[in-house]
C-alpha cells in the first residue's frame, strides 16, 4: 500500500480514479443520446415535448407570474385550458433557470437548445445519483457499475435522448436522488437528510406525476420495517421529517393542491405516518411498563386500532371524503379495467402490457442480474436492502403491466445488477490471496523438481540431459500459477465479454430504435441514399403562414400539441386528454358522414381539418389506422350514433378500397384521406400501408382541399363557408361540375 504515483497515496489515487470514471460515464451517457441531433438536427421530438417547449418559451418570454396565471384560450377550443394549474412546472422552470443563468454570464444560447439538451444533461446527473445510491447500499464498485449501466441502459435512454424534452427526462434523476437521500437519512437517522429528501421530493412532485411512486414506496418501506420489528428512532426521525415537509411542500403545486389529504393514492403515506407515531409512542411506553403488561397492552391496542382505522377508512371512502383511485392508477391493479372502461387509456400503445422481448430489448443482461441482486440483498438484509427489494418487486410488476413503466424499473435494475456484478468482481478481481497461493504452488513444485534432478544426477549419471528438460507442461511452475488463477481468469474474461456485449447492444438499440424525432422521418432508398421526410413541419409551417391567426384547426388529439407548438393555431383537442367528451366529439366528426360532419364542424367554429395519411409512404401510424380508436372513443360517449361493426365490410375486414363498408366510405376520415389520391397513384394504385386497392370516385363537397404535403402525409382541408345563395354545397358542385376535371392528364 505504500506505492505512490505522482506523490498521491493509494486512497487519493482511488478517489481520483473514481472521479475520472464518473466523468467518463457522464460523457458516454450524454454522447449516446446525441444520435438524433447528429442525424437530423436540434429539434424537439414527438408530441408532449412540444407542449413543454411551448410553455417554456412562454415562461421565458413572459416571466413566472404570467406563466403561473396563464389561461390558454387557443387549446381545447372553445373551453380553453388553465395551463398554470394543470401542468407539472418542474421541467419548464428548470430550463428557464438554466437559460437565464446562461444569459446572466453572457452565453446567448437559444431556449430551444436548452430544451433539446436538457434530458442528456440530466442523464449524466442520473448516473451520478445512481453511483451514490449504489455506494449507499453496497460500495463504490457497485456504485460505479450501476452508474455505468444506467448511463447507457436503453430503458432510460428511450425517454431521455436529446430533443425528447419530457418530464421523465429530469424525473428519473429526481427519483433516484430522492431514494438515495431517503436511504441515507434512514441509515443515519438524520433530520437534515430527511429534509433534503423532502426538498427533492418536492422537486419531483413539481416535475412528474410519477411522484406517486415515491410517496407510496417510501411508506411501504417504513411499513415493512415496522412489520419486521425493525423500528428505530432513526426511522422515526427520517420518516416524520420527510412526510411532514414533503407533503406540505407538494401541496404548493397547484396541480396537486389538497390531493395529499384526500385521495387514495396518498392515503398509504398518511396511514404510515400515523402508525409510526403510535409505534414510537409504544416503544416509549415499553421503557416505563413491565414487559408482561406491555405485551397485553400492545395486543389490545393493535386490535382496537385496526378496527377503528379500517372502519374509518371504509366509512370515509363510502362517504366519498377520500377520493377513489383515479382511472390511470386503478388500471394498474385491475388490468382489465382500462380495456373495458377507458378506451382512451387503452388506445395509447405505451399503456399496453410488456412482452418479454421488450425487457430484453431495454435491459439486456441486466434483466437476469436483477434476481441475483435480489438474492444478494436478502443475504445482507439491512434496512437499505429491504428498500431495494420492495422497489424491485413493485417496479417489476408495474413494468410488466405497462410498457412505459420499464422506465421506473430501469434504475433499480441497474443498481441490483451493479450489486451482483460487484459481488462477482470483488471475489474474482482480488488477486492478492490467489497470488500467494499460486506462488506457494510454484514454490512447492520447485524443490521437488530439484530433488528429482538431484536424484537423477546422482543415480543415473548415464542418462542424457534431454530427459530432464522434457517434463510435462502441467508440471512447470508457470502452469501451476496459471492453474491456480484459472477460475479468476475465466470468470473475469467472461464478464468482460458480457459487459462489451451490453455496451454494443445499448448503442445499437439507442441508435436504431430510440433516436428518431418522429417529427422528422428518415428513409433509405434502395441505393442506400438518405431521405429526410419533413411533411409535418411543412404542413404546420403552411398553416402558420397561410391561415388567419385565430383559425381553428380540427385534428385528432395526437397532433394537438404539435399544432399549437409549430403552427401556433387554435386546436379543439390535444394530448392533454382531460376532456373525453370533447375528444369523442372530434372522433364523431371524423367518423360521421360529410353532411353531419360539416354541420358539427361549423357549430364548433372549425376552419380547417387536418388528417395524417400514410398511404403514399407506407407510414403505418396514420389516422386511418388510428380510426378504429376514434370510433370506439366516440361510440363510448355517443352510443346512438354509429357502431364499430359498421366500419367493417361484409367479410369482416377493415377495408378501405371499393370493398369497404358503406359507413366507412361515407365517413369524413375516409374521404379526407383518399380524396384525389388515386389520381396521383394511377389506376392500379395501392395504399402502401393497408396493401389494398384504392377507392375511386370520392366526392367531397362541403370541404375544400387546402394543402397537401410533399409525400401526402399531412392533408389540410378548409371547411367551406355557407353558400352565398343559400344552396347546399352538393347542389353547388353539381352545378359547377367537378373542380379538377381539366387539371390532371395521365
Amino acid at each position: 500500500m505504500a506505492y505512490k504515483v505522482f506523490g498521491l497515496t493509494a486512497s487519493d489515487q482511488t478517489s481520483l480514479l473514481r472521479i475520472a470514471i464518473l466523468g467518463l460515464i457522464s460523457i458516454v451517457a450524454v454522447g449516446s443520446r446525441l444520435y438524433s441531433v447528429i442525424r437530423f438536427e436540434s429539434v424537439i421530438h414527438e408530441f408532449d415535448p412540444w407542449f413543454n417547449y411551448r410553455t417554456t418559451r412562454y415562461l421565458v418570454d413572459n416571466g413566472f407570474d404570467k406563466f403561473w396565471n396563464w389561461f390558454d384560450e387557443t387549446a381545447w377550443y372553445p373551453l380553453g385550458r388553465v395551463v398554470g394549474g394543470t401542468l407539472y412546472p418542474g421541467i419548464m422552470v428548470t430550463s428557464a433557470t438554466i437559460y437565464n443563468a446562461l444569459h446572466l454570464v453572457n452565453i446567448p444560447v437559444d431556449i430551444r437548445n436548452v430544451c433539446v439538451f436538457l434530458a442528456p444533461a440530466f442523464s449524466a446527473l442520473t448516473a451520478l445519483a445512481t453511483y451514490q445510491l449504489g455506494k449507499e447500499v453496497k460500495n463504490a464498485t457497485a456504485g460505479l457499475l450501476a452508474a455505468a449501466f444506467i448511463g447507457v441502459a436503453p430503458g432510460y435512454i428511450s425517454r431521455s435522448v436529446a430533443g425528447s424534452y419530457d418530464n421523465e427526462g429530469i424525473a428519473i434523476f429526481l427519483l433516484v436522488f430522492t431514494f438515495f437521500l431517503w436511504l441515507r437519512s434512514v441509515r443515519l437517522g438524520s433530520a437534515l437528510y430527511g429534509a433534503l429528501t423532502a426538498i427533492f421530493y418536492f422537486y419531483m412532485v413539481s416535475a412528474w406525476g410519477g411522484y406517486v411512486f415515491i410517496i407510496n414506496l417510501i411508506p411501504l418501506h417504513v411499513f415493512a420495517l415496522l412489520v419486521m420489528g425493525r423500528y428505530s428512532n432513526r426511522l422515526y426521525v427520517a420518516y416524520s421529517t420527510f412526510y411532514v415537509l414533503g407533503t406540505l411542500a407538494s401541496m404548493q403545486i397547484p396541480f396537486v393542491g389538497f390531493q395529499p389529504t384526500f385521495t387514495s393514492e396518498h392515503m398509504a403515506a398518511l396511514g404510515t405516518f400515523g402508525l409510526i407515531q403510535l409505534v414510537a409512542f409504544a416503544s416509549y411506553v415499553r421503557t416505563l411498563v413491565p414487559s408482561d403488561q406491555f405485551r397485553m397492552l400492545i395486543r389490545l391496542s393493535i386490535l382496537g386500532l385496526f378496527v377503528v382505522g379500517f372502519g374509518g377508512l371504509v366509512l370515509l371512502t363510502m362517504t366519498k371524503v377520500i377520493a377513489p383511485w383515479t382511472g390511470r392508477f386503478y388500471s394498474l391493479w385491475d388490468t382489465a379495467y382500462a380495456k373495458v372502461h377507458i378506451p382512451i387509456i387503452a388506445s395509447v400503445s405505451e399503456h399496453q402490457p410488456t412482452a418479454w422481448p421488450n425487457f430484453f430489448f431495454d435491459l439486456n443482461m441486466l434483466i437476469w442480474l436483477l434476481p441475483a441482486g435480489i438474492y444478494f440483498s436478502f443475504r445482507e438484509l439491512s434496512d437499505n436492502h429491504v428498500f431495494l427489494i420492495l422497489y424491485s418487486l413493485f417496479a417489476a410488476y408495474f413494468a410488466g403491466v405497462m410498457v412505459r413503466l420499464i422506465l421506473t424499473l430501469t434504475p433499480i435494475v441497474c443498481v441490483m445488477a451493479g450489486v451482483a456484478m460487484a459481488n462477482v468482481f470483488e471475489i474474482y478481481l482480488d488477486f492478492s490471496k490467489t497470488k500467494a497461493e499460486a506462488e506457494n504452488m510454484a514454490v512447492a513444485t520447485a524443490p521437488a523438481e530439484k530433488e528429482k534432478e538431484k536424484g537423477k544426477s546422482q543415480g543415473g549419471a548415464g542418462e542424457p540431459p534431454v530427459a530432464v528438460a522434457a517434463k510435462t507442461l502441467y508440471e512447470t511452475a508457470g502452469f501451476k500459477r496459471f492453474y491456480a488463477l484459472f477460475p479468476k481468469i475465466v470468470v473475469v474474461a467472461n464478464f468482460l465479454y458480457f459487459l462489451c456485449m451490453f455496451q454494443w447492444h445499448c448503442s445499437w438499440i439507442t441508435s436504431s430504435a430510440y433516436s428518431s424525432p418522429s417529427v422528422v422521418l428518415a428513409s433509405r432508398g434502395p441505393d442506400g441514399s438518405h431521405h429526410i421526410i419533413d411533411d409535418f413541419r411543412e404542413a404546420y409551417y403552411w398553416l402558420q403562414m397561410n391561415t388567419k391567426a385565430d383559425a381553428k384547426v380540427l385534428s385528432w388529439w395526437d397532433y394537438g400539441y404539435q399544432l399549437a407548438g409549430m403552427a401556433d393555431r387554435t386546436t379543439l383537442v390535444d394530448n392533454n386528454t382531460w376532456n373525453n367528451t370533447h375528444i369523442a366529439t372530434v372522433g364523431k366528426i371524423l367518423a360521421s358522414d360529410e353532411d353531419t360532419a360539416y354541420e358539427l364542424a361549423r357549430r364548433h367554429d372549425v376552419d380547417y381539418v387536418l388528417v395524417v395519411f400514410g398511404g403514399m409512404l407506407g407510414y403505418s401510424g396514420d389516422d386511418i389506422n388510428k380510426f378504429l380508436w376514434m370510433i370506439r372513443i366516440a361510440q363510448g360517449v355517443y352510443p346512438d350514433g354509429f357502431k364499430e361493426e359498421d366500419f367493417y365490410n361484409a367479410a369482416g375486414e377493415y377495408a378501405i378500397g371499393d370493398t369497404a363498408s358503406p359507413t366507412m366510405r361515407r365517413s369524413l376520415m375516409h374521404k379526407l384521406c383518399y380524396y384525389r389520391f388515386h389520381e396521383v397513384m394511377g389506376p392500379q394504385g395501392f395504399d402502401r400501408v393497408r396493401k389494398q386497392k384504392l377507392p375511386k370516385d370520392i366526392t367531397l363537397d362541403n370541404f375544400e382541399e387546402a394543402y397537401t404535403t410533399e409525400n401526402w402525409m399531412v392533408r389540410i382541408y378548409k371547411v367551406k363557408d355557407l353558400d352565398n345563395y343559400g344552396r347546399s354545397h352538393h347542389a353547388v358542385s353539381a352545378f359547377e361540375g367537378p373542380r379538377f376535371k381539366n387539371d390532371f392528364v395521365f
Partner: protein, 330 residues
Amino acid sequence: MMQLSFRLLLALVVLAVALVGTGNGQSLQALQKKANKDKDGLARLDINLFMKHVVSETKDYSVVVQLTALSPKYKCGPCKSIDASLRAVSRGWKDQANKNGRDIVFASLDVEDGEELFQQMKIDNIPRVMIFPASKGPHAFANPSPREMSLSPRTSSVSGMASKLSELFGIEIKAHVPVDYARYLMNAASAAAALYALYLVYKHINLRTLGRNVWAIASILFVLLMTSGFMWNRINSPPYMGQTRSGDVILFAPVNNQQYGVETQIVAVSYAVCAMCVVALVRHVPKIQNTDQRNFVTFMFVVALIMTFSYLNSVFRMKMPAYPFRMLLL
C-alpha cells in the same frame, strides 16, 4: 380475390335456390330437425342442406355456421376449440327460455361433408364462423348479406363468442358451459395438498430461520415472472404454443411484440439459470478447497452461464431479425 369468387358463388347459389323456391317454414323445420338430433343443438349440415337452407336469400331465420375440419386426420387444433365454444353457445341457446321469437339455428359444416364446396369457395383457412342473417320477417337485418365473425382470442372463448353473437342479434344469448367436476376435484385436491404441506411445514420447520429464504424465493420467483412477460399473457391470453402448417410445434412467436404462453416459462427459467450461475460463482465456488474441483466447477458454471445467455440472445435474434449481435455462433 377469394372474397370476390365467394361472392360470385353465393350469388349463383342464391339464384338457383330462388328458382327452386323452397318454402321457408319447411327450411327452418328441416334445419331444426337436424339440430334436434344433436345433443348440443348444433345442426350437422352437408353440402345440399347448406346450399338449400342456409345460403338462400330470403329467409326469416338466421343461421350461425362453422366451417371446420374435426376429423383427427386434419390435425386442426383451433377447429376443436372453436367447435367447443360454438357448442356451448348453441347448447345455451337451445335451453334458453326467452328467445323473443327469434329463430337462430347453429350449424356446422365439416370439410368431409362438403369438400367440393370448400374447394370451389377456395376456403383454405379454417375454422371460420359465418353468420347468415334473416332477411325478412320481424327480425330481418338491415344488411342481410352473410358475414364472418373475426376469430380473435376474445371471440374464440365461450363468453366472448356469446357476447359477440348477442350483440349482433340484439338479444342476450347465454352460453351453457357444463360444470367440469373433474376440475373442481383437481382444485380441491391440490388445495388440500397445499394445506397439508403448509401444516407439515408449520409442524416440522422452524419458520424463524427459514423465513428469510422463503421470502427470498418468493420475491425472486415473482420478479422472474414479471420480467418474462407473465402479465402480458394474463392480459392478452395468447395460445400456449404455435403451430406450423405441417403441424410442428413452434415455441417462440416470430414477432417482437407477441409471445406464446410457453415463452414466459422458457425465458423465466433461462433468467433463473443465469442468475443462479452468478450466485453460485460468488457464494459456493470460493468455498471449494480442492483446486482441481474448484477449477472444474467454475468452468462449468461459466459455460452454463454463457450458453444460457447466448440461447436467450439467439431467441431474441430470431424474434428481431435486424438485431446484429450474435454469441457463440448462435
